[in-house]
Symmetry: C2
Subunit: 431 residues, 2 copies
């Protein structure tokens, strides 16, 4: 993590040289084989791959009510209380996202509008292995519940040691009753195609490793998916009055996720830049999981010193970060400078982990610059719209010529005749 | 097109045996090569492929203002009038889709909310060849305009005969000034990566052939895309009082799109079924472009006779059609039976082509059963959201324990410390 001063175009160029895309060819070939096997042999393939990749033999993937309840009961009560507090804020925030359908009956003889309907069945992937994120269960499941999705199915890889209690507690708190112990690309395939044991879903959400992400990408169209998550990233914009201890801690909170995570400070103050750099190394020394954070700080993270606030925001918008902290005086006033960011944290006390766990907004956010066109996960991800149209004969009569003109311009004669037939007394001899 | 009677599960099984997925392996390999070439050599590759696939040599892809204006002026005035009428209805409908951001300041010391921002740059693909659809320009561009997208770029394959005037008129009517003569996978790649001549966009929408669709699918993530369009499809639900001439004409309006288009009638009346079948063959005899429609009718289209309205709707929901016509008495009352359909046409006079061209709702609709999870194209396709959070120290103080508990449960110590540091007077010796 070096301190670099520069103009906007220099720093933009510097950043673009840093991005490296790993070749994923090999993974894609492997995943295609797994998808094909599950599509053709269903549970048989899922059982085989679960033995092969997870080292567990299961003939019945589904967790019983008793198993789920037992996990919930074993969970540390402080954790349960914290999850309930998170749920409250997540629900109150996401409820404000709900859209209504609309109806327009302004024109005589015409009624048109839009229905908003929930998806019928949704699958949530919860990663296994060393990563255990009960907060992830809440962030994926609660918007689906609020949208009105009737059937939410959770899948997570099996573990010889049993599934983590906190995951089962989170599922219970969200009202998820259907949990299957199956993971990886084979789990995604099972949800997308359906097997004898595992229902076919309409959409799959939830983070996972490269095999899970590749499976989701290949199955897009067969099933809807959420975003493909890349490494975590944060941009902190700060001025001279910001607190370097706070900033350093926030940068490290991102860095600890992943050696490829990016933590970037953009400041107008050389003095602040130097204090933050010192703080980062100091706090790093005292951190467990320091190896991951250290690699991220050394290889992927930067401190940029620029000349003014306009450059700060211009560079941030170029990056289009997943998380954006604005630790500049009167932070809210600068909201209109933000063009591309997943989630925005304003002021000294809106620390990014607050958003990860508790404030209410979703922590499933667009990464790798996709904040240019993707949104945080939300209620809109779990609904679909249908348009509807009703016309009287008289209303159609007023617009029929325009329709037929356009249809014939496009060479679609049957389209024109479908309108014309409504105004013919007889077809055949007379027209 | 046979008349088949049956129970729900029999007909569902029958339909699932009809679906055949073409192997797309070969196309994907070809497209990957094109994408790589454009990514690496920009305009050079685009020029080469345009010569190779379109037989046209262009060094400057962009149409001049004069060229666009000339096309507009040459367009049949009736077509211009019809396009203006369509624009009026499309705009008035889509304006009702606009979402506002929200802000929540209910909790003391907490402000959170959601911004809604337009995408910055959008590319619209307009197919070439024999298919010339000015209506498609309107349906893709107008929602983007209403969303507030500042820069809309249109690409369409060049033609030795020049671009169709009606396409240029449609672009003018939508306020599109940036048009490039480039098509196919190379055009999509140019928009996704950007070249010296063609700007990089955030999202690509618009229908195209298998090469275009494959390019969009492969580039998803690099750039946002709309849906991958499959063959057109319509389901008509009718009772004994429906008009067989109208129904036959509507079925044929779909069939004329594509030999793979599906036109399905589901009725409770054997008598109506027989009259519709007769009408279809009669009207087919009198239709130009009959060969395409005939193949669709013969191979992909069906008339089902079922016992009751419940079965009608259940079977339709299984299909999840792109277009749904309800020609049943008191059609609007049955809206709540619809679970999955792109666009719904109610009653005798809401003929499907009315929706294609003029009523206002979008004609870019989910096909191949994706109405289970996708929506019509709309304003929401051209915006993205950002969450924002602001907390005072006191407000954070009330929630800090919950955040730290969850962070530590998930093994993310730096996340916990980022909160803790806000409440330490000193870090280092004392904590």
């Amino acid at each position: 993590m070096k301190i670099i001063s520069g103009e906007l175009n220099e720093l933009t160029r510097y950043l673009s040289e840093q991005t490296n895309q790993e070749a994923e060819e090999n993974v894609e070939e492997q995943v295609k084989i797994i998808l094909k096997a599950v599509k053709e042999t269903g549970d048989t393939a899922v059982i085989d791959y679960t033995e092969k990749f997870d080292g567990v033999t299961l003939s019945d993937f589904r967790l019983s009510k008793e198993q789920i309840q037992a996990g919930y009961k074993r969970t540390n009560p402080e954790v349960v209380t914290a999850l309930e507090a998170a749920k409250k804020n997540i629900v109150s925030f996401h409820q404000k996202q709900k859209q209504n359908g609309f109806i327009d009956a302004e024109k005589n003889g015409v009624i048109r509008g839009q229905l908003v309907l929930p998806l019928e069945t949704v699958g949530i992937y919860v990663p296994g292995g060393t990563a255990r994120y009960p907060s992830s269960v809440l962030m994926n499941a609660l918007p689906a519940k609020i949208a009105g999705v009737k059937r939410i199915v959770m899948i997570t890889p099996p573990d010889k040691a049993g599934l983590p209690d906190a995951i089962l507690a989170a599922a219970t708190i969200c009202g998820i009753e259907e949990i299957y112990q199956v993971g990886g690309a084979q789990g995604i395939a099972a949800l997308a195609y359906g097997t004898a044991s595992i229902p076919k879903v309409d959409k799959i959400v939830g983070p996972g490793n490269i095999y899970v992400a590749t499976a989701k990408k290949l199955l897009f169209g067969e099933v809807a998916i959420d975003m493909i998550a890349g490494p975590s990233e944060i941009v902190v914009l700060a001025d001279a009055q910001a607190n370097p201890k706070f900033i350093a801690a926030d940068l490290l909170s991102q860095a600890e996720h992943d050696t490829l995570a990016r933590a970037i400070l953009i400041t107008t103050s050389q003095a602040l830049a130097e204090r933050v750099e010192k703080e980062v190394w100091q706090q790093l020394k005292e951190l467990p999981r320091a190896e991951i954070a250290r690699k991220s700080i050394e290889n992927q993270s930067h401190i940029f010193v620029v000349k003014d606030i306009e450059t700060q925001f211009a560079l941030m918008n170029q990056i289009a970060p997943e998380h954006l902290e604005i630790q500049i005086e009167n932070p809210m006033a600068h909201l209109s400078r933000v063009k591309h960011a997943g989630s925005i944290f304003l002021g000294d006390y809106a620390s990014e982990p607050l958003g990860d766990y508790l404030a209410g907004p979703n922590h499933v956010l667009p990464t790798s610059g996709t904040a240019r066109f993707f949104s945080p996960l939300g209620v809109d991800d779990f609904i679909k719209k249908s348009a509807f149209i009703s016309y009287t004969k008289a209303a159609l009569g007023l617009e029929k010529d325009a329709v037929m003109t356009l249809a014939r311009e496009e060479g679609l004669e049957a389209h024109a005749r479908a309108i014309q037939v409504r105004f013919d007394e007889e077809i055949g001899g007379e027209k």
